[in-house]
Amino acid sequence: MPDEQSRKAKSGRLLDIRNLRIEATTYPPGEPPKTITLVHDVSLTLERGKVLGLIGESGAGKSTIGLASMGYGRGGCRIIGGEVVLNGRDILKGGRSGLRKLRGREVCYVAQSAAAAFNPAHQLMDQVVEASLLHGTAKRAAAEKRAVELFRKLGLPDPENIGKRYPHQVSGGQLQRVMTAMALCSEPDLIVFDEPTTALDVTTQIDVLAAIRDAIRDTGVAALYITHDLAVVAQVADEIMVLRHGRLVEWGDTRQIIKEPRQEYTNALVSVHEIEHQEKKAADTPFLSVKNVTAAYGQGTVKVLKNVSVDIHSGQTLAVVGESGSGKSTLARAITGLLPPMEGSITFGGKKLSNALSARSKEDLRQLQMVYQMADVAMNPRQPISTIIGRPLEFYFGMKGAERDRRVAELLDKIEMGKGFADRYPAELSGGQKQRVCIARALAAKPKLIICDEVTSALDPLVANGILKLLLELQAEEGVAYLFITHDLATVRSIADSIAVMYRGEVVRYGSKSEVLAPPFDPYTDLLLSSVPEMEIGWLDKAIASRRMESAGN
């Protein structure tokens, strides 16, 4: 496909960003507007056909720098200094029409959430070829032919006809690959991948990652790969740039960053955050047991839980693992009574718990608390932290006034946040702090069991690590049990006492942590275990080669 001319052009410098400086204006309530600098004089260069990984925690400025390569400032960001030289010219000086010619032709973008980035009202093919037609690089028939080729290369099922579908008719992993095809379709020189696999399951991530890597290699396009997961970027990138607070921390080739990081911060990112956790022995009688529960949506038509039985022991952690759609969140909904089971029973402390939420006593409700994945939407944005944590105290224990405030302060102290946070609103907290407040709210009820639904998956690795440590400390202090729902096996290793692996609504493997994580594995557990990215170059090839089954997402 690449003709003589483009092959010749495949060497040399493609992108040269010099002293890039990006600012944004914020409007804190009750104060005059402030200008903050998001990116401080960052420079980078990218050769043709190479992949540079940009990595850092949220707020590091990695997406902002990525978007600057196409002259775009998101959400009021302004590029106020520096040069972005692409194909030998400074794109910031080209004006609006220059940028319009550039975007979608020389630089394309792959967004984190493909589901939100596609227009739900148009067929996929129309959206994939749109840029090529708009820039006149190809006629419709030729562009569609190329798109089908790309679909095939990216391993999409039925490549001839998938373009006729609408975005909601394909799975999340497939949609992400279609988006990569869209970016590649107009044969750009550079693609900006903005966390393309972060929102996917580990088992799906591995497929998408392999597809993206092969597509980059085969088409010879250069790429900026933005992610917070160092293990992921190690599989795709030639070079890695570590960013923090909008400043460059370290920049080197992949092997050097992974094996011999020179900066302390890089070292913290690279070192594996395994928390040593001693497995507790199960007591004779569990305090909560789920027996043969079957649950379904829509009057029994779609069974999402099939004959599930698990036990939870006092003061211990049961981890429920599986990919999306495996029914692990539904299990939580069945236990809490939000989705009354069709069959089976849930016993709590020796007596049967009513299936429906409305039939349970206040005391039963108090004993079961829940912490959600998205801390942002799990707290009422119009309530201050003191109300959020204080309400369960009022509601369950009738605490009022000074007594309540004292207890709120104690709880804030327990989650390692100061008294000063009591008057703040959720919007004034960081992601990790929000999750801590949600934990404090659950803890305020003095429950026997807290259900943690993917509590760390929306957080940066270092912050997530802090939350896990906090949960373990609280378990030691308060003797609370956790039902920990996650798709991340690394998390499971550091927190669980027993594990239930779920696949399509059934528990396929269940037992103590040491039993479940010891070979021989069933095919599904093996797939889950082998899909967890490891901080090792060449892991992706090994993992793909050794797989025994496809993930359910395909």
Partner: protein
Amino acid sequence: MLDIKRIPLGAWIGLILTSLFLICAIFAPWLAPYGNGEIVGDVWGPMTSTNLLGTDNLGRDLLSRMIYGARITIFIAVLATALAFSLGSILGFTAAVVGGWFDSLMSRFVDLLMSIPTLIFALVVLSVLPANILTLILVMGILDSTRVYRLSRAVAVDINVMDFVEAAKLRGEGRGWIIFREILPNALSPLVSELGLRFIYAVLFLSALSFLGLGVQPPSADWGGMVKENKDGIVFGIPAALIPAGAIAALAISVNLVADWILNRTTDLKGGRGNA
């Protein structure tokens, strides 16, 4: 919170005119030079220094009538809007939270009410019921509450599925807490801006009813009624009917300007600051 320098020109005009009308309405007996029904001169007298806006079809001072008219127009419209909002939003929120048959029943009933043209519906009801201000307010309020119901139900349905409402339900909170403490504060901004628009509709609706003779009954009159009383004068080149008509338009526009500004401030995530 509110920075006076940031209020746009349109909003200033709206605020000033609206407060002018409100002052007229509240202090009518002290502001009006003559009584409401007092005959002070000739029929359709010209504008003079004693009768600043001239006189009406019975020789009453038009300015005084306008000021008293403002009082009655705004009084009825405010009460009708308040009724529409309390009824519509509480029922709408309840329908969203309770769901099931209650929601279906309420929503279909509201659909039924809305399928009949409001003006015709009101004309039929008002011609049957005794003509007094209370019936007028009740009819206007109930008819208007269907719109508010729709809006508040739609907003509340969205909020009701958020995790923080689920968390409250898991805690065992009653419906009262969920509706007033979890949902209402988050639904307030679209409702507040809708309030302004609904108020204007109430003014226009009242004026239309009075013009058709089923609204405020003589001798007291709202602006719509005054247009009706003086409309025959237009043929003779007498502008008396145009003055209340102009007042209706001015009130509608000024309240709209204020509502627009509030809408802009409250729906925008940056508090309306980033859109200059």
